[in-house]
Amino acid sequence: METINKISNVLWELPQGGDMKVPGIIVASENLLEKMKQDRTLKQLKNVATLPGIQKKALVMPDGHEGYGFPIGGVAALDAKEGGISPGGIGFDINCGVRAILTNFKEDELKPYLKQLVNVIFKNVPAGVGSKGKTKVDQNNLDDVLNLGVKWAIENDFGWEKDLKNIEEQGAFKGADASKVSAEAKKRGMPQIGSLGSGNHFLEIQKVEEIYDEKVAKVFGINELNQVIVMIHSGSRGLGHQVCSDYIRTFEKSFKDIVAKLPDRELIYAPAGTQECEDYLAAMKAAANYAWTNRHMMMHWVRNSFEEVFKRSAEDLGMNLIYDVAHNIAKEESYKIDGKLRKVYVHRKGATRAFGLDNPELPIHYQKTGQPIIIPGSMGTASYLLVGSKTAEEVTFSSTAHGAGRAMSRSEALKQYTYSSVNKEMESKGIIARSVTKGGLVEEAPGAYKDIDEVVKTSHEAGIGQLVVKLKPLAVIKG
């Protein structure tokens, strides 16, 4: 067994050795660390530490587990000149992410209408394996989505102008270029825009169960216990998956000498400054725009559904967007490293950006608190809102966890649970669950995931994302 040095109760060091250019740092409680030791998380962390231009440390967040190339929960800052970009450090589902939407309902006001509301949302928001959007876009529209992101959605009457400031990159990643996205990726993405998909993606109606930081919660728009919140978790569907596949293949063909030296083929990267690197960045940004637009369209239909049920405008119902965060993405950011400001590509694969106070990238109102961080739980368990901190800049290149992380395989879940057992569990918790397929519900049984409470507690203790609000689901819609 390799040495792991304890730095604190929630920080551990995997010392630099072999081909590692930097040490590995693990943000985890003792218990979460033990779980990481059971699969290849730490081996993959070591591999990440061998990448060129990696700065200071390779990181894994509290919800980390084995992935491809990078572990899920992996974070690395590669120098923007001497490093590069690795699609395996971003993931197949580019800009898989989550957004949270306010309402001014309290639980008891909503309860009598909840079943009806869930049925209307289920009708209005396409979900499930291979689900197709109900708004048809053609090739030109799709290019606009890829280039303009949520701006396209607003121009086409999905959502409100004021939503833009509450999305990372204002929902329109600068430098996105639809011409760098392959015909195959567009073919996969065209029919799917505006659909939830399946797997761990969900739409939930939740209530505020606990407020840890009243001042910050207020700035987020949360004023009291039992306030109703809507959460949407989805990604870039087939388009993003294909962009990742395409560029892994392009890089392999262009950089055969790099492939030959890699500890794992899926760590393939394009060196900074190469045309391939620039092209992937532009395509990844386009896929990210697609994902933000996708979530935006679904939010629009959720607002419509509330309007349909309550015969009042969404504006009137206070349905403002709190924030939208990306979980699988690379960003050009600058950090002070060894006394010098350096531009880096921060890879976050199953990790959330966690900007602290005064960060000029944040809208004015959040510069006073730090960035809202949305951490969805698994189906039927709590979700959390956290707030970013200055400490995260130092410790994790402004990153924290992104969710619970699977602990059990899908087939194991299907063996251990049944549709009726999961449904009963949901019912006993007072949660309404609707899914397109029965399997879709069973695979996502709460017991198949790690303990979200421990994940966010670890983030809080490490100071990289501070607890603000705990949310409890009232209703879940799944693919």
């Binding site: 996969r188 993405g189 293949r249 395989s409 899908r410």
Partner: protein, 141 residues
């Protein structure tokens, strides 16, 4: 049936066997179809697509071949119950030609199973065995 599914924490392995490399490729593809749709293999042969692929090595050839099924699924709403490899060149330049036959996806009839996002290289293996060939590939769910 000479393919099976093996568990993985977040995803699923397809393992397939064939007397020849061609057959092993075909079985892997059928496994993928069934993983996506429980009733995929009973689909009618109403549509045929011929595909030609060239890649830099055998693993990549498999990767590119299987990715085609995802593109047809999402882009043209097609699934395939029959997969026939017409030619497969397992040395440089690695090439493959195949005919895929199937029909338009119908959720009621074909029963969606897993939403396969992508093929991966993770622990991918194409092995020669006593009885022929064995392929193992992990797909991202």
């Amino acid at each position: 049936m000479v393919f099976r599914f093996l568990p993985h924490t977040a995803d699923i392995f397809i393992e397939a066997e064939g007397k020849t490399l061609e057959e092993a490729f075909e079985e892997t593809a059928k496994g993928l179809s069934q993983l996506m749709f429980s009733k995929a293999l009973s689909a009618k042969e109403r549509v045929s697509k011929k595909i030609s692929i060239e890649s830099e090595d055998l693993n990549s050839l498999l990767y590119d071949f299987l990715t085609q099924f995802l593109i047809f699924r999402d882009g043209e709403n097609l699934l395939f119950s029959k997969v026939k490899i017409i030619s497969l060149k397992s040395e440089p330049p690695f090439k493959l030609e195949a005919i895929l036959s199937g029909e338009e996806i119908n959720f009621q009839k074909h029963k969606p199973n897993m939403d396969v996002k992508a093929i991966t290289y993770h622990e991918m293996s194409i092995e020669k065995t006593k009885n022929g060939y064995k392929i193992k590939v992990l797909v991202d769910i």
